[in-house]
Amino acid sequence: MMYSVKELYRPETLTDALAYMAEHPDARPIAGGTDILVSMRKKKPEDVLLVGLQNLQELRGIRRRDDGTVEIGAYNTFTDLANSPIIAESVPMLRTAALAMGGPQIQNAATIGGNVCNGATSADSAPGLFARGAILVLRSAAGERRVPITEFYDGPGRVKRQSGEILVSIELPAYSAAHYGDCYIKFSTRKAMDLALIGCAASCGVAEDGTISDIGIALGVAAPTPIRAVEAENFLKGKRLTADMLEEVGNLALANAKPRDSWRASKAYREQIIRTLARRAVRAAYEMAGGVL
């Protein structure tokens, strides 16, 4: 396949990349390439300008700051996420998500930054990042912008990345509770090489007495963009989880969802899966944080 690429620019530094993007407002960043090439093959745009992000060290690395914030460089492949001890300790659901995405070849190339900027509601990284209230750090020649991920998605396949901007890193604010647990469940027909029919993430901070101090519940493919299940979160905050409450968690998760009928699944079925996954993910996150039902 020969794509119609006018120039593939390969900058060595972020500054260099941002300067090029400022000069060429149409230029599109390319990281792992696994989304952009698929889209180019379908839409056949001509004379595309691409900026390869491979060499930008500023986009690499996964760090945990002293305050517990986890900072994930945008150019981390899903394999990087899966292999990171920081992720395994601090946000294990992102490891689950990384290993659930596509297959090994795609995990080895696709980046978390690309996954976010592609704007798909089915993005496997999204529910976890939404649940944890991730902050996106975007840079352009003009400066830096910090955007909560919950405000970044703009519709199916659309995000509020402005022309000239590159997503540099993703920050996950720390949970202060004594105990932490989380869970991502991807529901799909196949066990690999598949899209989520529904994805659900729950993260949970649990105090010594078993009450829930922090809670994030997020859903993929439940609406045109990933969403937080705010009502279910509000219901759980400050409470000890009991088996009886789970039914309500499932129902409340639906309150924020707007699943649609498509040939991949009906609305009614997606609703059933949302209810079921929300129950299961919350329970698993709570139990992982030491909570006992």
């Binding site: 396949m1 020969m2 794509y3 119609s4 690429v5 006018k6 120039e7 593939l8 390969r10 390319i30 792992g32 390439g33 696994t34 090439l37 698929v38 093959r41 595309v48 691409l50 390869g52 491979q54 394999t79 290993l99 596509g102 297959g103 090994p104 070849q105 795609i106 080895n108 190339a109 066990k191 690999a192 090489m193």
Partner: protein, 162 residues
């Protein structure tokens, strides 16, 4: 057009590629290494799997220019110069893990990379590591056995060396 430098199957290669050229086409047409197959062009079948710095990648999902500076291994790179086979290739033959053969090069490379990083994988680990390589003949049972055999062969070779 840009000039890139890569290591292909251990040998240095410097040459021009188009900016929009995919790695799989570069490998097949510029380098003439047609053991790398093309099955979907969108990273969904695994037939074009090559190792980039030792890691399995879908070469249809890479622009060739982005592989600049990388070391690439294709199926041709696993065969010794005298034509003898690497343990994983031999194991594929011995286990009957070859049918139509179109997925075989990619499958072998994924298996090779798995054994490099995990010399004694469990069945579950094999399934996961090879889940990006579709085989419509569904030779999966035999591939599983081949990976296990190769694991034993490699372990025996290590013992022998020691």
């Amino acid at each position: 057009m840009q000039t890139i430098h890569i290591k292909i199957n251990g040998k240095d290669w410097t040459g021009p590629v188009e900016d929009g050229e995919t790695l799989v086409d570069m490998i097949r047409y510029r380098l003439g290494l047609t053991g790398t197959k093309r099955g979907c062009e969108v990273g969904e079948c695994g037939a074009c799997t090559v190792l980039i710095d030792g890691v399995p990648n879908a070469s249809c999902m890479w622009l060739a220019a982005l592989a600049d500076g990388k070391s690439i291994t294709t199926i041709e790179g696993l065969t010794n110069e005298d034509g003898t086979l690497s343990p994983i290739q031999q194991a594929f033959i011995d286990a009957g893990a070859v049918q139509c053969g179109f997925c075989t090069p990619g499958m072998i490379l994924s298996a090779y990379a798995l054994l490099k990083r995990n010399p004694h994988p469990t069945r579950e680990e094999i399934k996961v590591a090879l889940s990006g390589n579709m085989c419509r003949c569904a030779t999966y049972e035999q591939v599983m056995e081949a990976v296990e055999r190769a694991s034993d062969l490699l372990a025996a070779a290590v013992v022998e060396k020691e």
